[in-house]
Amino acid sequence: MMTSRIHPLLLLSTVLVYIFLMGPLIIVFGASLSDTTYLTFPPQGLTLRWFENIFKIGAFRRTIVTSLELAFLATGLALFIGIPAAYALNRYRVQLPTWLSTVFVLPILVPEIVFGFSLLKSVAVGASAPIFVALLIGHTLLVLPYCVRVISASLASFDFSIEEAAVSLGSPPIKTFFTVVLPNVRSGVIAAFILAFITSINDVSTSLFLTGPGISTLPIQILAHVEQFFDPTIASVSVLLMLLTVAVMAIIERTLGLTFLAK
């Protein structure tokens, strides 16, 4: 777009919007360092004891482990089925009906909370599957659209005639896929992994109905903790999650570039 001058009021409003976007997160960071038993900002005194406190609380230790396990497994499974789906959607574009790609939008279209509740009824109660299995199914489907979409975007610029050349020179199709196609969309796969991972870690609505006293995820545990305590522990958990976000952004920047997310 043309770079003409921007009205000063518009500039001012943009500055205010960014203060609005960053302010609350800075406040959480400040509150996590406060040497008080209640949440306050600016912090009074500086301490890291609330970060230690996270790991003293058994429920946090357990849910952090559960959330990490869940995120790794769900993302792995979603890639395992999502990469072939993205490949098929691009490679066999002519053969497959257009509605097929809509199927992979459904997990985004259906409200997450409805999906979670339906899994509780059908899978956890109906099929009496263990809660962790129901959570894993939920998270796998939750992140599947990201995997299919990001990898499809990478495959869209892949020249399939390279693959045909390898096959016509005698390379078996499966080997060709792993040695020719996959390395060409490597950055897409990494970005998909990382986007899926952070989506799973942060999820509330899908997991909401699939947790209980025995098993829970970190965000659900945070919600439960906030209802009973108002100490800075949650602020420090939030800071840990923000550090994870920073790591995720660094990886996306190195693979797809963050501007990919503004498309």
Partner: protein
């Protein structure tokens, strides 16, 4: 044989996973709402006969519409500036919008809990400058829910609209200027209409997201600002009224799909670039 169906075979695991674990369970949930012995729509009559639940539905619609309007307005103005910024600054502004977007809903809503609480920064500030003598209770109000929801969705509208605004061809804007249009006229008659499809996408994302939200209204709105999401949870897990919860779920699904279909139809009709 295999060759002709290769695409289907390769896409099958993911397709079947979506159908078996998403489409069928959600269909089953909606199906149970029609199983009442008192009649096909008895569960819905139940829902709409309750003044409390009708109130929750209206409140949710109101919060979602206001959130959508504010998020789009703020997001559009900001995206316009971001799209016009020079390279380095633009990347920085995009990063600053991506960061909150990738930070979880719980963390972002919790931030508002700290700010709006009795010991919160906003109250301390208001007391310090003498606007009020006692801390105000700002939590658990509709305004608090809307503020936290706008906070949730503004990064999304900025990022959606930056992409759209960047795709507006420079020639079109220059042509308008060289034909004598003032910057304001160019904005109103050229840029805004070309951004309509992006605004519609943004509206769908924000409206459906806020209509079905749970964590933010739960944390910032509590019992006093009950919305569809929190009501559904309460019906299912506190009252064990699964049919009631399924009815709310069905209303959410129908509304979401209606909005998506209506808006994508509108986007096609209003798109000035369409043939």
């Amino acid at each position: 044989m295999l060759k002709r169906h290769a695409g289907w075979v390769i896409a099958a695991p993911a397709t079947l996973a979506v159908i078996i674990f998403l489409v069928l369970p959600v269909a089953a949930t909606i199906g149970t709402t029609f199983g009442d012995p008192d009649g096909l729509f008895a569960a819905y009559a139940d829902f709409f006969n309750s003044g409390f639940r009708r109130n929750v539905l209206w409140r949710t619609l109101e919060i979602s519409l206001i959130t959508t309007a504010i998020s789009l307005f703020v997001g559009f103005l900001t995206a316009y500036v971001v799209a016009k910024s020079p390279g380095r600054l633009k990347s920085l502004l995009i990063i600053a919008a991506v960061f909150p977007l990738l930070t979880g809903v719980v963390v972002r809503s919790f931030a508002w809990l700290i700010m709006l609480g009795k010991n919160g920064i906003l109250n301390n500030f208001l007391v310090a400058i003498g606007v009020t003598n006692e801390p105000l209770s700002m939590l658990y109000t509709q305004g608090a829910v809307i503020a936290a929801m706008v906070y949730l969705f503004v990064p999304l509208t900025i990022l959606t609209l930056v992409g759209v605004l960047e795709n507006i061809p420079e020639d079109v804007v220059q042509a308008s200027a060289s034909l004598g249009a003032t910057p304001a006229a160019t904005f109103r008659q050229v840029i805004l209409p070309l951004a309509v499809p992006g605004l519609i996408v943004g509206a769908v994302l924000v409206f459906t997201g806020s209509f079905t939200a749970y964590a933010t209204p739960q944390l910032v709105g509590g019992e006093r600002q009950m919305v569809m999401g929190t009501l559904m949870y309460q019906r299912a897990m506190v009252s064990f009224d699964w049919v009631g919860a399924s009815t709310i779920a069905a209303i959410m699904v129908v509304l979401t799909i209606t909005v998506v279909l209506a808006m994508s139809r509108m986007a096609r009709r209003l798109n000035p670039m369409a043939t």
